[in-house]
Symmetry: C2
Subunit: 348 residues, 2 copies
DNA sequence: ATCACTACTGTGCACGTGCACAGTCCAGCT
DNA sequence: AGCTGGACTGTGCACGTGCACAGTAGTGAT
């Protein structure tokens, strides 16, 4: 998006779409009145309003967003910026659920969503001018790793942005919306303990992501609360992928063969864990109970279906959009933490 | 996107980004010369070019796309339009792979991708004015069901568009890019037969989608070619979802218990089929060989991993973008059929 | 009758750019 | 010397809109 490439040739000067002037002429009023009606109709007589609306319908008038942008200095669109390696996220059902929710939420405000990926340094350099030129009014940022340079860059440009998940290592206030990872983890571990399990292991996420950290912290906290000593041999660190879940589970089964439950920090990893358990000849949940996290579509497709913690993606995306619009309207940053929900299926 | 909502208030008149005039002043040339450099630098002395580039770098100038759009009558962006029920597509790994590919391909042309969903009639009404007002220069259309009204609407607006997969029931020429479904199906069935299987069943896709039709046709054709009578009891029709694959497989196992192979028209359905087979106490591939279609990420995560047909999504998205740009530049519609590839794993 | 105020309407200007056109300059030819 | 044509440069105009401002008409209070 460096804007240095040659433009393609102009649309042929055929019949142009109607302008605000055409509408004004048809309605027998001036440009200004039509504009006022478009802005909500304050200080416009109801007769004029009706005439304008009739003319708009008749001519099929649609406002020219480019012209509007030029004068209002606003883009009239919002970016969904994926600042993570593409491979992982495009395969992660959480991502697509979030994307879908944001598209829907933005559509209600007539704001087109521009999808931008910036997983590599080269891509980030590429989109930097696009963002700093304010070609979007705000950014919905998906970036979980600690110290993502995108956060700094966005702050420098002064562009409003809202993160999905708490950005780590940021001193200043940053708007973000997240599920309550810690409470979710606590709820799952509590459920496992109250189901009569005694040796509860965990497979957590990367320790430079908020989810990885807080879900592990919740696990640890709940154990401590119940008077159980935290044992690092019962902890494995994966990367949220199916493959890593399988590897971690295999590791746990050898290093601590007496475990009777495992809390896995993502459904994808939990699916991998189920594979490892099955291969070891153990049964779920009889020998080992498995608790997942996310309640993504895979959760109901595993064997057995996963007991898991539901992340409220619809509400997360909705709140991200709401917070972003608030910032665009001049409000300061805010953080929103949403509750999770235990979904009991058959794996625990 | 009706454009009748009130605008949000304007960006504060703070320090504005540099304009082409600032660049001209800094470089000691006129607006026109800067503009020419931006367009590629024809008929501009190398001294001027260097001066302009230096000024651009120094000021951090980025072209104002709104102003450019206004004068060129081009939006400078492209829509990725998903005209299918959201639930299905956002969970379909094929969709995200395609989306990812298109984002990448468009980024190379400095064209932002606007993601639009139009699964319901209400949504279609909503985005219609957005499209007819030419707020994008073209549309990458994902719509497989027969008689999708979006195709007609796009044709009426005169907006260039390229479909992913052949649109069914269209008499006039429509640009589309697709994998060679028929050949892919034939290759899989050929492989199964040559592995020594005799009773090959199939679970195909909806018969109002090109994939469903052509994969079934390929299956049938290959059987006929090998002198095997087409038996409708060996055919089940699913909807590409995991659940339907499971249901179809169950049905096949009761109606034709002597089958020793099954060609499933999507990996997701194949995964469901594996579940049904396992539940029936049969082994894969020993008792029943299973062949999938797509080579989506799930294919390597099933048990056992799927032998499947790879769809060339990277090339499909690349060609869709290329065809769309060609159309935007005035060329006529074209169709592109890309070859598939047999990927042998353990399920067959 | 005058004034103040409200409700509504019309108009000039600016937004930043690309394009067409009109120049200017210089080399090479007659 | 004069002419021609190419290479390069500068400038007026248009794109469609929102906003600030100025204006008009009508109402009610003094």
């Amino acid at each position: 998006m460096t804007d240095t490439e040659p433009r393609r040739r102009a649309r042929p000067r055929g019949k142009r779409p109607p302008t605000i002037l055409d509408v004004a002429a048809h309605a027998g009023v001036s440009r200004g009145t039509v504009s006022r009606v478009l802005q909500g109709g304050h200080n416009v007589s109801s007769a004029s309003q009706e005439a304008v609306h009739a003319a708009i319908r008749k001519l099929g008038y649609v406002v020219n967003r480019a012209a509007r942008s030029l004068v209002t200095q606003r883009a009239g669109s919002v970016a969904f910026l994926l600042s993570e390696p593409q491979e992982r996220f495009f395969e992660d059902p959480n991502f697509t659920t979030l994307l879908r929710g944001c598209t829907t939420a933005l559509a209600e405000h007539d704001l087109p969503l521009i999808l931008i990926t910036a997983g590599t340094e080269a891509e980030r350099r590429r989109i930097a001018p696009f963002l700093s030129a304010h070609h979007v009014d705000g950014v919905l940022l998906v970036s979980s790793h600690r110290g993502n340079p995108m956060v700094d860059h966005l702050r420098r440009t002064g562009l409003p942005f809202v993160c999905c998940g708490k950005p780590l290592g940021e001193r200043d206030a940053v708007s973000y919306v997240a599920a309550n990872d810690r409470e979710g983890a606590r709820a799952m571990v509590r459920y496992l303990l109250e189901s009569g399990r005694n040796r509860v292991a965990t497979i957590t996420g990367p320790q430079d992501t908020p989810g990885g950290l807080e879900r592990l912290d919740g696990y640890r906290g709940m154990l401590t609360e119940r008077g159980i000593v935290y044992d690092t041999r019962l902890v494995a660190v994966g990367d949220y992928s199916r493959a890593s879940g399988e590897a971690c589970m295999q590791q746990l089964l050898t290093s601590a063969p007496d475990i009777d439950a495992v809390f896995v920090a993502s459904d994808l990893m939990a699916d991998g864990a189920l594979t490892a358990i099955e291969r070891a000849g153990l049964r779920v949940p009889d020998d080992i109970a498995v608790g997942g996290f996310d309640d993504s579509p895979v959760a109901s497709a595993t064997h057995p279906p996963l007991t898991t913690i539901r992340q409220p993606w619809a509400r997360i995306s909705e709140m991200m959009v709401r917070q972003l619009l608030a910032q665009i309207d001049g409000e300061g940053p805010a953080t929103v933490i949403l509750p999770t929900e235990l979904v009991v299926r058959e794996s625990a």
